[in-house]
Every structure is written in structure tokens, then in C-alpha cells.
């Protein structure tokens, strides 16, 4: 980050820090200071509020120092001069950042708790590797949009409990739907890169890594380290069947 931008960021951070420290103080003041808690008569120096209160005071002081420094060095002025609510478009770096966040957030908050772990990892890796390995802004935009729309459909299914209703008919329905989404992503990206030999190779490599990684990780964690996977659905159950059949 350039110095000017850094000072502008300092200005915003310092305000956030001051608000944050205020919030901590408000929260700590709700904690027992001299009242009884769990039958114990409190004194101020044993209170659970003491330590967070000290921390909040330090954060507030340091936040204020940062605030003053950002004003002195022109950070506040730079922020106010360049403040605009008008949409200026996204730079490639920011699109990449959105792509990374989309991959991480959907993987952790959407897929892992609800979709078979093997499928979750494959889906995540296929998107995450291919979209950055192509190193093409246009493809990055299109594939991210495709993945985003797919994720929105899943969010709707989960938020309105439609997934539960569907799964009550067939236990692995959501896993099959996720597999379908994975296949459609692969087909969509294949169609986008079919005229470019280098991109085609990159897509194949992405798909290979996306399959091989869970193929190694899932049995290692499940059978060697005895770690039950977050969600054991269609594929993991199939893996169990093979494992116990061979055993």
C-alpha cells in the first residue's frame, strides 16, 4: 500500500478502533463488578470485567494516537477529498479478491456443514484452482459469476429448508445436486476454454488436482487419523462401503 493510502486506511481503522473500544467498555460495564455472580460476592479487582476494561482503555488510547497521526499526516484529508459513493468499477485485483472470498466463504459456511466433504472439496478446488490458474480477467469474471449463481441457489435451498424436504425423499439429494453443479461448472468452463490449448491443459490439471486431493485426504483423515469428516454423504458413504468390503 502506498503511504498516502496507508494513512487513509489508518484514519478509517482508528475510527473503527475507537468505536470498537467503546463497545468493549459498554459490554464490560454490564459484567459483575461488585455484584454477586454464582453466589460469589465480587470485588472490583477480581471482576471478570477488569482485564477487558484495561484492554479497551489501551485500544482507545492507541486508536486515538493513530487517529491524530492520520490527521497530522494527511490521511483524513485524503479520505475526505476522495470520498465518493459513486461506483467506480472493480479493478482486477479486487475481482480476484472477491473470487477468493467467494470460494472460502461458500466452502466453509455453505458446503462443509451440508454437503458431502469429498464433493465439497472437489467443488471448491475445481473453482478455486481453475479460476486463478487461467489467469484471464474475462474468464475470472464469468466463472466467478457462474459459481456465485450456483451458490445462491444452494443458499436458497438451505435457508428456506427446501434441502431438508428434498432430502427426506432421498437422503443424498443435495449431494447429487452438488455433483450436478460441479459437472455443469466443468462443462461451462470447458466450453469457455475449448479454443485455447493452454487453458484446456490448465483446466485438466485443475480437475485432476481437485479429484486427487480429496482422494488422498478423505481416507487419510477418516481411516488413518480416525477423524470423522464434517459431513459424510454420498461419496464418503460409498468410500465406507468399499473400505469395509475390502476389510
Amino acid at each position: 500500500m502506498k503511504k498516502k493510502e496507508l494513512r487513509r486506511a489508518d484514519f478509517i481503522t482508528s475510527i473503527l478502533l475507537l468505536l470498537f473500544s467503546l463497545w468493549i467498555i459498554v459490554e464490560t460495564l454490564k459484567m459483575p463488578m461488585k455484584d454477586t455472580f454464582g453466589g460469589v460476592q465480587n470485588v472490583w479487582y477480581v471482576s471478570p470485567a477488569l482485564f477487558p476494561l484495561i484492554i479497551s482503555i489501551f485500544i482507545m488510547i492507541l486508536g486515538a494516537v493513530l487517529f491524530l497521526h492520520s490527521i497530522k499526516t494527511g490521511g483524513a484529508k485524503y479520505f475526505l477529498d476522495n470520498f465518493s459513493l459513486r461506483y467506480k468499477g472493480l479493478s482486477e485485483k479486487n475481482i480476484r479478491f472477491i473470487g477468493i472470498l467467494l470460494a472460502l466463504l461458500t466452502f466453509v459456511y455453505l458446503d462443509i456443514p451440508r454437503i458431502d466433504f469429498f464433493i465439497s472439496v472437489t467443488l471448491f478446488l475445481t473453482y478455486f484452482i481453475s479460476v486463478f490458474y487461467f489467469d484471464d480477467k474475462d474468464l475470472l469474471k464469468k466463472l466467478t459469476l457462474f459459481y456465485f449463481i450456483g451458490s445462491i441457489i444452494f443458499i436458497i435451498l438451505f435457508v428456506f429448508d427446501i434441502s431438508k424436504i428434498i432430502n427426506s425423499y432421498y437422503g443424498y439429494f443435495i449431494d447429487i445436486l452438488a455433483l450436478f453443479f460441479y459437472l455443469s461448472y466443468v462443462i461451462y468452463s470447458w466450453r469457455k476454454v475449448r479454443n485455447n490449448q493452454i487453458y484446456k491443459k490448465r483446466l485438466v490439471l485443475s480437475l485432476l488436482v481437485a479429484i486427487i486431493t480429496p482422494l488422498i485426504l478423505c481416507p487419510t483423515f477418516r481411516y488413518f487419523l480416525l477423524v470423522p469428516l464434517p459431513k459424510e454423504g454420498l461419496i464418503i458413504q460409498f468410500m465406507h462401503n468399499i473400505y469395509y468390503f475390502l476389510k
Partner: protein, 513 residues
Amino acid sequence: MFIFEQLYIFFQQIFILIANPINVLILFGSVLLGIIFGAMPGLTATLGVGLLTTLTYGMDTSTSMVALLAIYVGAIYGGSYASILINIPGTAAAAATALDGYPLACQGKAGKALGLTTTASAIGTFIGMLFVITIAPLISAFALNFTSFEFFLLAFFGIIISGTLTSQDLVYKGWIAGFLGLFLSCVGRDQLQFYPRFTFGLTELDGGINVVPVLIGAFGIPQIIQMLRDKITSGEAKRFQRILPEFTEILHHFKDIIRSALIGVGIGAIPGIGEDIAGWVSYGAAKNSSKHPERFGKGELSAVISTETANNSCIGGAMIPLLSLGVPGSPPAAMLLGALLLHGIQPGPMLIYDHPLFIPQVGAILLLASFAMWITGMLLAKQVIKVLRIPPPVFMPVIAVLCVIGSYSLGLQIFNLYLMVPIGILAYFLTEMEFPIAPLVIGVILGPMADASLRRALMVSKGSFLPFITRPVSLILILVILLMVVSQIPWFKILTKRILNRMFSRKIDKNIS
């Protein structure tokens, strides 16, 4: 007598460890894994130790320590590969190595440089190990006199010094990061009264924030985001024929090695200061003491030797406060602390009584790891550098999956992941705004100790703060903390500068007269 007893136990531990072939296998495997982790730009020693912690959960303590220390040693050394061959430091610890390592590679001396760094790193680790087995028990014995007053100030001191020395922009940004870490440590039920603090009614937060997922998030996710967002790629690696140990060259630079090893141990022993700073300080010291400082930056062998000796000896240094005081000396040592707690070992002054063999065992593992590192480096360097060809967009997402499964497998809680991601994103933004992450992590780790110690201390003194200044060690700690804080104030800087100028000008005047 005490030192001889320690040495006896130390050699005994070496034999016990190498008598088990599984340990030897894990030792070499982890060192190799560490070298790969260190060599790949974007993957750090801290992340390597963190990810391996999750795999060693089911192992016994000594085997898991073999794995974790071996990967730590291997990763710090492995950073030099990318520094020398592609001019991109594999780890921050090897950043100073790139300054002269890459020019050496350009001169066709990559094999020679790697040979020297391999031997220097092994010697550095060995010297660090010597300090662990001799100094750590003595500090532990001394720290037995510490009471809650000292432990509170020690935690505070750790955050302030780590914030001061790791901050690249404004010093107080490091302190802010440290206090944010302390705040995170407050989340959950407090240790004395079990009152829920900042839990938002979530039962998952009652036990507090798990340290290992926080560490993996704070060190792993920012790396992933940075590498992919900024399109950081590894360049074409320089070719080399074979690696030679270059013992005569090493003997020629013996003075540099000893000086750098001592710098490394000293810096490692300061809480929260990592191998990167050891490397830079050692580089500066080597340049200042060199007869040919103008050669630095153009491929000077002593520069490469100094930085690599210092960053590896820093490992031993970082283990000293970790084992004797329970305060991690570097970010990977913070990960190790998390691993030790998972295995039911509480580092600190009581360690020499609760687990009397543990410190010599750590020393023995460090010695074996330095041997394993040397052998692996000499034999497999050519194969290892092939990993540099893997493009970051391919391996970074795989690392993300490892971070996720690693965090989940500790405690089998998906909630760990829900915490890991936002902490990782927060750490990324903090890094972008030049807030150091090490103090934040140190804060999370030392927070519970600071909180409980402060309240216990005040309970003993019935609310009086007077013992903080009447007890000698706590008074020293307070003075050091105050000095560090005051030294950042402009008028104090001007005042000290004037005093120093006057002192030196008098000396110069005297010399002239």
C-alpha cells in the same frame, strides 16, 4: 554439576529417540516436508508447524515433538532455496539471504551457496540447541520465584516488545495488534468466575477461542489471499550442478558463524520476534564487521552464511522463553505452544518438575533435526527445488483445504472453521495496513495468563498495585515496558539523541585533544 546432569540426560534422550525407527522415519519425513514448505514462496514455517500439529494429535508427545521441531528446522532452512535460486524468499526468515544468495546463483555459484547455507543452518541449529539445554532450565529455575505480578507483566512485556520490534510502519500498530489479540483471548468464560464474556450467547464460544485454528487462520489465510490476489509467481530457478559442504569455507567464516548464532539465539529469546529479524540483524552485523562491506549485495559468501546461521539458531533461542516461561519466542514457537497444550504439556517454570526430561528431549530433537536437515539438504536439494515449478494457483487452494481440515480435526468442531475464516480475513486486512500479526497471536496465547495473573495478584494484595513496584523483577519489567513506550515519543527521542550526541562529541573532543 547441573549442566553435566542435563548433558547426560540429553545424550540418553538422543539414543532413546534414534532407537525407534519410526522416530527416525518421521524425523527425515518432517524435515523434508519442512524444506518443501520453506522452499515454496507463500508457505511459511508457522503454517507448516500448524498443519502438522493436526496430524500429530494422535501421536505420543515425543514423536509429535520430533515431527514438529523437524518441520520447523527444515522450513527455516528451506527458505534459502527460493531466496538463492529465484530471488524470492521462501520464508520471511530467508529474505536477507536473497540479497547475496541470488547474485551468487547468477555467478554460477548456486551449488556452493546452497552447500554453505546447508552447513551454516545445521551449525546454527546446533548452537541454538546448546543454549536450549543449558539456559532454559536455569531460566525456569529462576522463574520459579515469579508470582502472579511478574507473570502479568511478562505477558504485557511480550506483547509490547513483539509489537515494537515487528512493526514495519508505526510502532503502536504492533501494540494495537497485541491488544486485539488480548481481547480475543477474553472471549469465553473467564478462568476465575466462569462468567461468559463476549460470547453473544453462543455455547461454542464458552470455552474461549481455540488457539490452533486462530493461528492457522491468522497465518494461512492471509498468505493464500496475498499470493492469489497479487499474482505472486515463482520465477525460473537457477540451475546448479551439485551441492558441496565446503568445510574449508565454513572454517574460514567461523567468526561470522559464531557471531550470527549468538545474534540468532538472542533475538529468538525475545518474545514474539521471529527468524526474519534475526536474519536481518545478523546481515547488518556481518556487513558492519566486514573488511569489504562494498561486496555485500553483490554475492558475498559471509552474508549468506550469517543470515542462514542466525535464522536457524533463532529456533533454539525461541524455544528458551517458550519452555522456561511459557512465552513463545517466535510465531512458529507459538504454534508449538498450541501443540504442546494439546498434548497436555504446560510450558513454564514448572516444566522442569512436571516433565524433567522434556527440555533435554527438545535439545536432542533439535540436534537430530539439524543432522537430518544437513543430510536431506545435501542429498535431495536438486529434487526438492522441483516443487518450485508448481504454480501458486495450484498449490494455494490445496493449502486452503489443509487449513480447513486441520482446524476442523482439532476438536472436530465446524465452529472452529467459522472462526478461522473471519480471523484470517481480519489478519489479511491488518497485514495490508502494515499491522504485524505476531503480536496479535502472542496476545491470544498470553491473554489468559495475563488476565488470571492480574486478578490473582490483586487478590493477594487486596487490590493494591504497590507490589508491582516493590517486587524487584516486576519493577524491572515495568521500567523496561515504560522505556519501550516512552522511547517512541518524539520529545524523548530528541532528548536521547541530544544526550548521546553530547556524550559522543565529548569523547571525540577528548580523543582529538
